[in-house]
């Protein structure tokens, strides 16, 4: 609890911005999506990279991990259907992103992820040792969530990581084993003790919505 007791941190600004978007109905994108097409289907290797990365974010512990719970398939579906603003046209995209843009300036996240990790691994990301994979992903993650005010546009990795978390915590093992799920609480206790180790509720809809 000590890190929490220190009070606010800059990340909460981003939470506020997301909350504002929810409260005010700010459009997450102004472009119309075309239906997901066949040439958007991820390659087998892109899915392998996604699976590896998903398990690095949420590994199997005493509860199932991301791959155990079908997260890669969910993330691929979510990206194909533009969830979490993933089909938003990028304004003034970084030159490194240009090779991965669609005609509408939105990013093809999975080819970008595959190429970026291979480049950072100076070879085949899937072939290097797990510890090295974790080191590379940690660096990418740190760059996506920099100190100071959050980036105006979320980094591509932030979008992918967000969908990995959604995929995991809205799966049955993630929502009901790792966390707790109760569809019918039946009562409201306004003030009870929180003991160390108590798990959060995935069925606290307001908290999930507002972050």
């Amino acid at each position: 609890m000590t890190d929490q007791a220190q009070g606010w941190n800059r990340r909460d600004f981003l939470g506020g911005a997301a909350l504002l978007a929810l409260a005010l109905g700010v459009p997450t994108a102004s472009v119309m999506l075309s239906p997901a097409s066949a040439d958007e289907a991820p390659s087998d290797r892109q899915m392998q990279v996604l699976a590896r990365v998903a398990d690095l974010v949420i590994p199997r512990t005493e509860t199932p991990g991301a791959v155990d719970t079908g997260v890669p398939a969910f993330v691929a579906l979510a990206l194909a259907h533009g969830l979490s603003a993933s089909r938003t046209a990028l304004v003034a995209p970084d030159s490194a992103l240009r090779p991965f843009l669609r005609a509408d300036s939105s990013l093809r996240h999975l080819p970008w992820l595959e190429a970026t990790l291979d480049r950072n691994a100076q070879g085949n990301f899937l072939a290097i040792a797990p510890a090295e994979q974790a080191r590379i992903l940690t660096a990418l993650d740190a760059a996506a969530f920099p100190p100071g005010p959050p980036p105006q546009t979320p980094a591509p990795w932030a979008t992918i990581k967000g969908l990995i978390l959604t995929g995991y915590y809205t799966s049955e093992p993630g929502g009901a084993q790792e966390l707790r799920y109760e569809l019918v609480p039946g009562r409201f206790d306004p003030d009870i003790a929180l003991a160390p180790g108590d798990r959060a509720w995935s069925s606290d809809w307001t908290a999930v919505e507002f972050g």
Binding site: G15, L24, R87, D198
Partner: protein
């Protein structure tokens, strides 16, 4: 088909009109443009977990952009509730140049009674006297005393839980036991009262039952807070759970769904409406019925649309529009997120269950003393304290087992305050029929011209400053503070367009919600509002509806109409 009364619309006020009129002995036809949704049988997503849904509750963004580009901007629109909101592509509307208005709609049996926020607040004489006091808009022809017994009447049936606070600006009602403040909200209530004795943080007054109403077949709230999926416990007030069964019990209700009303028939000789015409949207055939009374409860903008579209030779500017003000002075509360604060000091406390209401801090500006800078009306806050959930991981660095372990625990408590500022009635904010665009049935589209004004912006600027001051004084650390209103429609409190008033030359309806021009025509939804107050308006619509029904039936019995 011939009836005593026709009620157009089955939402919050249509349900009330059907209930009151049938219970008083009238044979009533209720028309609903949308599909039938049966209580307890058709709430298809009610018990689904996120993992039961293909998009885990977030919904198919690609499909939403095609079919629901406006509705998807509403935070209540999710994969669970998407079937309780309109298809925008099939139900187009226009906005005037320079207007930004998001019209959130529910076209189905029960209308928005299935999806509403359930907050039930009485208006006071600060509200009914507002237009007269500052001279903006037309004076309400009623005051609180006219409506108080009708508030009692509807609250008893609805079942409103709330705390009695003795506030002049937010009169107490016939409440069921209040839901409880959580530990952070309780502390905030006490700390605010210490510094500002005139400011009262209290639990939301909500149409969720804390005590069952077995006589209505309704169970107490289970604290799920998934109301807009539909509630088989009948624990919140909706047409399906409450007014429809009551009306049906009389044996005098005829309900027709998939019936989009296009015109009201008018007889210039008798100066009476004689019935309505509608399109059966499944067969595309036109049908009609006659009645001695017509109640419009289609939702504020759609009731106005219907009046405009029912223009005839005798009334070329629209039905009941001899004044020319029909469609004007529409409103929607100016709405923004005033502040979010981290609330330290409660790290070892939590709550259990999902309470289906937040808190309210009633208006404290411009009451007996005009103390608003640049604004003469009021604003109030709604919101609540919550403990952040796994979704906070989306904005935090971290991967791996430690990260997973961190997200396992509830996060910091935060307090959220959202402001609703009174929207002023302005002639330039108005509804007209589009001259160029028609809908699928060939009816001219409704065109909305709307913008917030300087008064609303000044009120939200003050709300931002005061929200931060209260949260900071209570030990919070403010991390977000905003003062710009969302687009029109954001509050989903659109109202006005057929305002009440004393003078038939400057208003559409009289003090009984009855058209000045047409004695057997009543408009008892949000269209009748002459000002917007800063409270959620539905309870007032209900009270006005019950009152108008009582008047209409008396007039019918006395042979006046």
């Amino acid at each position: 088909m011939e009836f005593d009364a026709i009620v157009v619309g089955s939402g919050i006020t249509g349900g009330w009109a059907a209930k009151e009129l049938t219970e008083k002995g009238l044979r009533v036809l209720m028309l609903e443009r949308g599909r039938e949704i049966r209580h307890q049988q058709d709430y298809e997503t009610e018990t689904k977990a996120p993992w039961d849904l293909p998009f885990r509750g977030q919904g198919d963004t690609e499909m939403y952009r095609r079919e629901h580009p406006v509705q998807m901007l509403n935070r209540h629109f999710t994969e669970w509730s998407e079937n309780h909101f309109v298809n925008d592509r099939e139900n187009p509307y226009s906005t005037a140049a320079g207007s930004d208005f998001n019209w959130f709609r529910s076209y189905q049996l029960g209308g928005r009674s299935l999806t509403w926020g359930r907050q039930c607040y009485r208006w006071s004489d600060y509200d009914f006297g507002a237009n007269k006091r500052d001279g903006i808009g037309t004076d309400w022809p009623i005051r609180y005393a006219d409506l108080a017994p009708w508030y009692d009447h509807v609250e008893r049936f609805v079942g409103v839980s709330g705390a009695r606070e003795g506030l002049a600006q937010l009169p107490d009602g016939e409440f069921q036991p209040a839901m409880q403040l959580n530990v952070v909200e309780q502390a905030l209530r006490e700390r605010i009262a210490e510094r500002w004795p005139e400011r009262c943080l209290t639990i939301g007054r909500t149409a969720n039952l804390t005590e069952a109403k077995p006589e209505e077949g309704r169970a107490a709230c289970q604290n799920r807070n998934i109301c807009n999926r539909g509630c088989s416990f009948g624990a919140y007030f909706s047409t399906q759970s409450s007014t429809l069964p009551a009306a049906q019990k009389t044996g005098r209700l005829t309900l027709i769904t998939d019936a989009a009303v296009e015109k009201i028939d008018y007889d210039p000789v008798s100066s009476r409406v004689t019935g309505v015409r509608w399109i059966d949207t499944r067969t595309k055939t036109r049908r009609s019925a006659t009645a001695r009374l017509v109640f419009l409860n289609a939702g504020a903008f759609n009731s106005v649309h219907l009046l405009l579209n029912s223009a005839n030779e005798a009334m070329p500017r629209g039905l009941a529009n001899s004044s020319g003000v029909l469609g004007t002075h529409i409103m929607d509360h100016a709405n923004t997120l005033s502040a979010i604060a981290i609330m330290p000091g409660f790290e070892n406390r939590t709550s259990f269950g999902n309470r289906p209401t937040g808190i309210v801090i009633p208006r404290f500006r411009n009451l007996d003393r005009l103390d608003g800078k640049g604004f003469t009306r009021g604003y109030s806050f709604q919101g609540g304290a919550l403990q952040s959930a796994w979704t906070r991981g989306k904005r935090e660095a971290g991967i791996g087992a430690d990260f997973k372990a961190r997200l396992r625990a509830p996060g910091m408590w935060r307090m959220v305050l959202v402001a609703f500022a009174e929207s002023l009635p302005r002639a330039s904010n108005r509804l007209t029929l589009s001259r160029t665009k028609v809908d699928a049935n060939g009816i001219p589209q409704l065109e909305i011209a709307f913008s917030h004004g300087d008064q609303e912006r000044a009120a939200l600027a003050d709300a931002k400053a005061e929200a931060s001051a209260m949260l900071t004084a209570a030990g919070g650390q403010v991390i977000v503070a905003l003062d710009q209103p969302g687009a029109g429609g954001t509050a989903i409190h659109e109202m006005g367009g057929a305002r009440m008033g004393w003078d038939p030359r400057t208003s559409v309806l009289n003090r009984m919600s009855q058209a000045h021009d047409i004695a057997n025509l009543f408009v008892t939804d949000g269209a009748q509002m002459s000002s917007s107050a800063c409270q959620n308006p539905s309870l007032t619509y209900m009270a006005l509806t019950a009152r108008a029904c009582d008047t209409a039936v008396s007039m019918l019995r006395d042979g006046v109409i």
